[in-house]
């Protein structure tokens, strides 16, 4: 592919909103000038051209995703992808096989996705799956919020060692960012407890979630990580948790931080009781604190699979739903919970969740600090993105959908009063430009000179769900991968990771810790770069 002519360009990063322009590319990147005669041209007259979509928070690779696949044959049956001369076969459902995951992202116009929660001990597994996930560029965030070594170092007041360890762990696992999941709470869950506020003490370690949040936010900043600390707050899904969420935001004290799937963290009420929306209060705080960014974790109605590094949450969902339950506690590091879940439009609770997610989108003033996610597959499959886009762009459609939900719950939310409709430009922000910027991926999410030539071209359609579910062309690295919903070429993208520097003296301390408490030797822990990341790219740290 050499040039796309006559298209209506939406490239918010470069301030372009619907101008008709030509785009040139060479060697997989956008160029300023036409590389010269010849080459393939797409005439995109009457079409909408955007950068490829970027999913900054999903669960697509690694142990918990794979256990969910193994656990749910019923999720795959009836949703199968046959082999074609170009593509591998696979199964779909809420937790698709790796090949199906890559194809489905690409067919939807997404070209980059990050798995949001990999336990360090299983990093090798996540990389193996990412290597079998075609079409997209990818990476993962590594879990650190319940790491026992880190908690001990925090308790000892060794801030520098926390930083060095975090850098070592990022390097050892070839991860992209630091992720916190229910900081401290998952450690407590290992003896059946949980953290109920950010000032609960983590028994046996003498630290609080607040200290973990602050220490790892500092480490992220000090190391100059391209994506700052990524936080799944304590008390997910619990009535009254909005205060914990607000406390977490405040605890950052101006440090950069990303708070994820906030829909699940915006509940008023008393623990154990029904909850109601507290979106307005939290949005107000986020609107006025530019150090904060969020993604939504939109719930959509239907059957899906809840999978989380938040072990006690998994158990709570099992108790609520009565459905099958997987729990995996990972030595010295993290946990995991998996439960199938069906969101029902007549349910009071599920309607409230659905409405809260939409409130977040419609009440946030700055689209650059909010990303479209379903926390795939927790709120819904990523396949629901086009429908969510229609809900945001089409007020009438939204009203129609509102008629189908639990009216009592709906009336308790602000959603019926929100008239805002997203523009194409705003959609381009929350689905590619903002997530790329928040991830610190300079060459993604825009179409400026030097950017990766990842481009999605849509036929215009009044039905925005239709428009965004079946792009006319999807181009990645300058190659046409998808045309009219058909995959034309299978490619395997790059894996992004970071390489922050650290004081090597920390290694002796880590090794001593491994000798005592791990069942894997220190020497065998780090992921072998060339073997497990055959197509890799380091994203530079700014420190």
């Amino acid at each position: 592919m050499t040039r796309i002519i006559n298209g209506e360009i939406y490239d918010p990063q470069n301030g372009i909103y619907g101008e008709v322009r030509d785009i040139y590319m060479k060697d997989g990147a956008i160029t300023a000038e036409d590389p010269g005669p010849g080459g393939q041209t797409i005439d995109a007259a009457g079409m909408v051209v955007m950068p490829g979509g970027v999913d900054m928070h999903c669960h697509i690779a690694g142990p918990k995703v794979n256990v969910a696949r193994k656990m749910r044959p019923e999720d795959h049956r009836g949703n199968m992808l046959p082999r074609t001369p170009i593509t591998r076969s696979g199964t779909g459902g809420s937790v698709p096989s790796t090949f199906a995951t890559g194809y489905r992202y690409a067919v939807m116009g997404y070209t980059t996705a990050f798995d949001a929660a990999v336990p360090p001990l299983a990093a090798r597994h996540a990389h193996e799956e990412l290597n079998d996930t075609p079409m997209i560029d990818k990476g993962f965030f590594v879990l650190m919020g319940n790491n026992e070594f880190i908690m001990q170092r925090i308790a000892a007041g060794e801030k520098q060692q926390v930083r060095d360890f975090a850098a070592w762990l990022l390097q050892a696992t070839k991860a992209y960012a630091i992720k916190l999941v229910n900081p401290g709470g998952v450690e407590l869950w290992k003896f059946l407890g949980n953290a109920h506020s950010i000032d609960d003490e983590v028994t046996g370690f003498g630290v609080t979630p607040r200290q973990i949040i602050q220490s790892l936010a500092d480490a992220s900043l000090d190391l100059g990580l391209p994506h700052r600390v990524h936080i799944h707050c304590n008390n997910l899904g619990v009535a009254g948790n909005w205060e914990t969420t607000l406390d977490t935001m405040k605890a950052l004290e101006g440090r950069r931080g990303h708070l994820t799937h906030l829909q699940f963290h915006s509940y008023g009420g008393e623990p154990g009781g029904l909850f109601h929306s507290k979106t307005a209060d939290l949005v107000e705080y986020v609107n006025s604190h530019p150090n904060l960014s969020v993604d939504v974790g939109q719930v959509m109605f239907g059957d899906t699979t809840s999978m989380t590094g938040d072990g006690p949450l998994g158990y709570l969902l099992h108790q609520v739903t009565g459905r099958k339950w997987v729990n995996v506690d990972v030595e010295n590091e993290e946990g995991c919970g998996i439960v199938p879940i069906e969101y029902k439009d007549k349910s009071y609770v599920h309607t409230t969740q659905w409405a809260i997610g939409l409130e977040w989108f419609l009440m946030m003033q700055d689209p650059w600090r909010i990303a479209l996610t379903t926390d795939h597959p927790n709120g819904a499959s990523f396949m629901m993105y086009p429908r969510i886009i229609r809900l945001l762009m089409d007020r009438e459609f939204r009203k129609e959908m509102m008629q189908k939900v639990n009216q009592k719950a709906l009336a308790e939310t602000a959603l019926p009063d929100l008239d805002r409709e997203y523009s194409l430009g705003e959609i381009a922000i929350i689905t590619r430009a903002a997530p790329a910027r928040l991830l610190g991926l300079d060459h993604k999410g825009h179409l400026g000179v030097g950017a990766d030539a990842d481009i999605t071209i849509y036929d215009k359609d009044e039905d925005k769900e239709k428009m965004f579910s079946s792009p006319r062309y999807v181009i990645k690295g300058g190659e046409v991968l998808v045309e009219d919903g058909h995959i034309r070429e299978e490619v395997f993208g790059r894996t992004f990771y970071v390489n922050p520097s650290y004081d090597p003296d920390i290694e002796a301390k880590i090794q001593e810790y491994f000798d005592k408490y791990y069942t894997v030797r220190f020497e065998n822990y780090p992921v072998q770069l060339e073997h497990y990341l055959p197509r890799h790219e380091v994203v530079a740290c700014s420190a």
Binding site: T91, K190, T519
Partner: protein, 428 residues
């Protein structure tokens, strides 16, 4: 030459602390390895003069072997690829791709080891943990239907019983060890308590235990056939409820006995119930070195952990239909590719008979009953000795296998990927 902290891929323990000595092109020592691991390192490290490829017993070139094997497989209508539990994930990935192109079945040793555990997970889920959690926290360790002293000789010392950890600083003294089995075994001497259950009565015993854990009344008479007294069971239920962190290791005594996946379902539900009052985990005692890996590879590529069929172009799963023993016993398979396995020596007679009637292609690291009857035989490098790769421990922890010896043979991965390429040419 000394290679330190090498990973042993013989059994599901996948110990990663073996110091391997190589002298004059062979392994002379495998320090820290158990008796099974020593045999694995020392015997797989022996030089051999077997030809890399044999067709009908005659030495052939790799090219000829690939050609012959590919045409056997491509010509067949219902081939099955089987084994894969003693090779790397890299090879397993190629095997799944090959099964897909052939439109046949692929099954691994899981179906005859812990397939029933996998089915129980599909029914009720699985509260589990990594082995380090057991090392650091468990103060009650139960083995049910397992004889780790012989099947996983370092399991008790390295991970579960005598090892010391964060909340178990005194190792063995901090734990109570219970063995439930149909017989006293060499593992019995490591146990504080042994319950001897009558064969085929595991489900009844587990269900009664569930009732006790839930605080329900159990009549002595209902236990009459189990071989265990109410007093013994009440004592065990009490220990399970009152421990700080318990773990139940389940073995083939449950998966291969009457009830099969229902035995495991009962065990999994028991552990699930226990989590109302204390932290309790369970773990299947996976046998072969990378049988956990093949479950994982199959699951991420197809959605299903074993017994997968591609006849309709997409993966389908049905234990009893697409599993090796059944496909052979019913006389359905018309060609077999055995990878790093010895089905002729390990499957029941009624299934094995079919192997004599259909063309067999075998890829293995040494001669076996299966290579002896195979039409085409490839000798392959051992993953973890002659070639690098990945293996998953029984708790799903992935480890990197290293190469410690040169080998004249290609890897399973290379043979399979060349077979795949050739079959694709024949069957686009």
């Amino acid at each position: 030459m000394l290679y330190e902290h090498v990973v042993c891929a013989f059994c599901g323990c996948v110990c990663d602390d073996i110091d391997v000595t190589v002298e004059d092109g062979r392994i002379t020592q495998a320090k820290n390895a158990c008796v099974l691991g020593k045999a694995w390192f020392l015997d797989h490290g022996k030089p051999t003069d077997l030809p890399a490829v044999r067709i009908d017993g005659q030495a052939a070139s790799l090219e000829e072997g690939i050609d012959a094997a590919a045409s056997l497989l491509a010509r067949s209508h219902y081939p099955i690829i089987y084994g894969l539990s003693s090779t790397s994930c890299e090879a397993q990935r190629q095997a799944v791709a090959l099964a897909e192109v052939l439109g046949g079945c692929i099954d691994c040793c899981t179906s005859v080891c812990h397939g029933p555990s996998g089915m129980a997970v599909q029914g009720v889920g699985e509260p589990t943990c990594t082995l380090g959690e057991v090392k650091n926290r468990a103060n009650l360790v139960i083995y049910w239907g397992s004889n780790p002293a012989e099947s996983h000789p370092r399991h008790m010392t390295r991970y579960a019983v005598t090892s010391r950890g964060m909340f178990t600083p005194n190792g063995r003294k901090d734990r109570t060890v219970v063995l439930v089995d149909v017989r006293p075994s060499p593992s019995s001497r490591a146990a504080d308590i042994q319950l001897t259950v009558r064969p085929g009565k595991d489900f009844e015993l587990l269900w009664a235990l569930r009732a006790l854990v839930q605080g329900q009344k159990v009549e002595e008479s209902s236990l009459a056939d189990t071989g265990v007294t109410l007093e013994q069971l009440v004592d065990l239920a009490g220990r399970m409820k009152s421990c700080r962190f318990g773990v139940l290791f389940v073995g083939q005594g449950l998966t291969q006995s009457r009830g099969k996946h229902m035995n495991l379902t009962a065990a999994f539900l028991l552990v699930r119930d226990l989590n109302r009052t204390t932290k309790f985990a369970l773990m299947p005692m996976r046998g072969h070195g990378n049988v956990t890996g093949v479950d994982n590879v199959l699951a991420w590529q197809t959605g299903y952990p074993f017994g997968v069929n591609f006849s309709r172009g997409c993966p389908r799963f049905n234990p009893g239909e697409f599993t090796m023993v059944d496909v052979l016993r019913r006389g359905e398979a018309d060609a077999v590719l055995s990878v790093a396995s010895d089905p002729v020596a390990s499957l029941p007679n009624s299934a094995r008979r079919r192997l004599a009637d259909v063309p067999v292609v075998a890829i293995d690291t040494h001669d076996s009953e299966t290579t002896r009857i195979a039409r085409v035989v490839f000798m392959a490098a051992t993953a973890g000795i002659g070639v690098e790769g990945t293996a998953y421990r029984m708790d799903n922890v992935p480890l990197h296998l290293s190469k410690v010896l040169p080998t004249p043979y290609p890897s399973d991965e290379e043979i399979l990927s060349r077979l795949l390429a050739r079959v694709k040419e024949m069957k686009p």
